[in-house]
């Protein structure tokens, strides 16, 4: 194995692509997943805006999105992606499927994190005359912050995994490099380097997530 043959410039570009896919997709995942998670929580059984039918439908749709293997979702969503971004290739071309793949997952994590908040806190806030809106934004979300940060951490790691997969359909990034050079051209050293980079990225995300959770935990 010779590491001299590696084109570090290619790896650098791929790393930047991976990071932009990760950042872009994570942003949109939170943007869509957080309200969905809040809605799931509020309309759930015995909750403030209990709506069994609505909850059932939303839950069903999210479950369907979560059941489709990501690689299938990538292909299935191509027309939608082209419609949204004008291309199904590159960083822009994979962000929509990434968001479709992780937002439902993130929404579930948000729902679970909100459920972890002591019901007594909701009751106390209601007794103080708080509106549902106030209770969500001034009591529930701040109380659930450590859980929400943990949810973002887990979701971002899932996204790293998915960006690697999206390389397969021309998404670019580290995963793409690993498949094209490492697998298809038998350049094992490229594979090793890309895998090491992915490992480091995941470790970094998890470690910073843990630190933030610890910082915001007041329990």
């Amino acid at each position: 194995m010779s590491f001299d043959a590696i084109d570090w410039g290619d790896i650098g570009i791929a790393a930047i692509d991976t990071l932009s896919m990760l950042g872009g997709a994570l942003g949109f995942t939170i943007l869509f997943g957080l309200p969905l998670g809040i809605l799931l929580f509020l309309t759930g059984r015995q909750q403030m805006l209990q709506q069994p039918v609505f909850y059932g439908i939303l839950s069903f749709v999210l479950n369907i999105l979560r059941s489709v293997p990501f690689i299938i979702l990538l292909i299935m969503l191509m027309p939608v992606t082209v419609l949204l971004t004008g291309t199904s290739l590159g960083v822009r071309g994979v962000i929509p499927p990434l968001v479709f793949g992780t937002a439902p997952f993130f929404a579930r994590l948000v729902e679970a994190a909100l459920r972890e908040v002591d019901r007594g806190i909701i009751e106390a806030s209601q007794a103080m005359g708080g509106s549902t809106f106030q209770i969500v934004f001034r009591a529930l979300l701040p109380e659930a912050l450590p859980g929400l940060i943990a949810a973002v951490t887990v979701t971002s790691i899932v996204l790293v995994d998915y960006t690697a997969m999206s390389g397969a359909i021309g998404g670019g990034g580290i995963g793409d490099l690993a498949i094209r050079y490492g697998y298809q051209r038998f350049q094992t050293e490229v594979m090793v380097v890309t895998v090491v980079i992915l490992i480091l990225l995941v470790q970094l995300l998890q470690a910073s997530g843990n630190r933030l959770v610890a910082h915001f935990s007041r329990k």
Binding site: G120, I121, A124, S125, Q126, M128, G129, G130, P142, E143
Partner: protein
């Protein structure tokens, strides 16, 4: 101040309706500390939550401060709740907020005061509950008693007219319980706030309540002044609660047939407790007495003594009359009299 008329509350369960409360009639007077006592599952928590509409009654009418509350919704409901503070057994403080932020929270939700005003009010409350040094701590750094003080300060922040206390001392040790009860009682005295206090401990009622209602199986089985209910319990449920607080002492297991003479229960209340009236009367009527059981203590600040004695020789009748004339309550416990017969509840 608060009146509940013919209230019932049923929860729709899987098959049949579960009745939590039935036929509740209650009037709570402005400025009093009203106790609602009952074993767990008696419906106390549901009852208190009807007052600030965390629960709504299945039937009946509730008035708070002269206004019927049933129609309130949205904004009106939230305004109504802001006039009623609530303290919880498990404090229900926000863990992500400091002590000062927790106390400020209801004021921020109300959105009526500017930031400097809120700050001043919080400072005032911190001082009132003795937590000035802990303003910037988080709840997990506090002891149970301190947490409940934060809970009380938070409940008082919006200057409510009514304070609901749901088992506020049940999670605290006896000493902390005392200091929290003292604080509640001081607040009642200082600002004249009406307090409704839910508890399963007769001791709590005895220490600070003016009047009490005993809840059993979702119904009020006895209500009245604490002196009356505590010293002369009529209903078996009340008797059970009184005996629990006495640590199963007093008249339990007393065999009247073994007593050397007629058995009486004498109750001395207030100043009578201090006078040597029992001995003097006994001497005068040539009566000997043996004390079979007794309890001595305070109801709020009022001293009381209740002695169960057997009278031997002399003129027992005359002695009892003399004691009654002096204001002592005398009850003759003939055979089987210790098994109390329930009487109709009166106001």
């Amino acid at each position: 101040m608060i009146s509940l008329r013919n209230i019932s509350k049923a929860y729709p369960a899987a098959e049949r309706n579960v009745r939590a409360l039935a036929d509740i009639d209650l009037d709570i007077v402005k400025g009093e500390i009203f106790g609602i006592i009952g074993a767990s599952g008696a419906g106390k928590s549901t009852l208190v939550r009807l007052i600030n509409l965390l629960e709504s009654p299945s039937s009946g009418e509730i008035q708070v401060d002269g206004r019927a509350t049933a129609a309130a919704n949205g904004k009106e409901l939230r305004a109504l709740r802001r006039d009623i503070g609530m303290v919880f057994q498990h404090f229900n403080l926000l863990n992500a907020k400091t002590v000062a932020q927790n106390i400020a929270f209801p004021l921020e939700l109300a959105g009526e005061l500017a930031r400097p005003q809120i700050k001043a009010r919080v400072q005032e409350l911190l001082e009132r509950v003795g937590l000035l040094d802990h303003a910037n701590k988080y709840p997990r750094q506090l002891s149970g008693g301190q947490k409940q003080r934060v809970g009380i300060a938070r409940a008082l922040a919006g200057r409510p007219k009514i304070l609901l206390s749901d088992e506020a001392t049940s999670a605290l040790d006896p000493q902390t319980t005392q200091s929290v009860l003292r604080l509640l009682s001081e607040i009642n005295r200082d600002i004249g706030i009406t307090i409704i206090l839910i508890t399963h401990e007769m001791d709590v009622v005895r220490r600070i309540c003016d009047r009490v209602a005993v809840l059993d199986g979702g119904r009020i089985v006895e209500k009245g002044a604490v002196e009356e209910v505590f010293l002369h319990p009529r209903h078996p449920a009340t008797l059970r609660l009184v005996r629990e607080s006495e640590g199963d002492e007093a008249e339990n297991g007393l065999d009247l047939a073994q007593a050397p003479g007629p058995v009486y229960r004498f109750t001395f209340l207030g100043d009578d407790t201090q006078r040597p009236i029992l001995g003097a009367t006994a001497r005068e009527f040539g009566v000997d007495y043996s004390i079979l059981a007794g309890r001595v203590g305070h109801i709020r600040n009022l001293p009381f003594a209740q002695l169960t004695v057997a009278l031997v020789g002399g003129s027992a009748f005359g002695a009892v009359n003399r004691l009654q004339a002096a204001g002592v309550v005398a009850e003759r416990l003939s055979d089987g009299a210790l098994s109390v017969t329930p009487r109709a509840v009166n106001g």
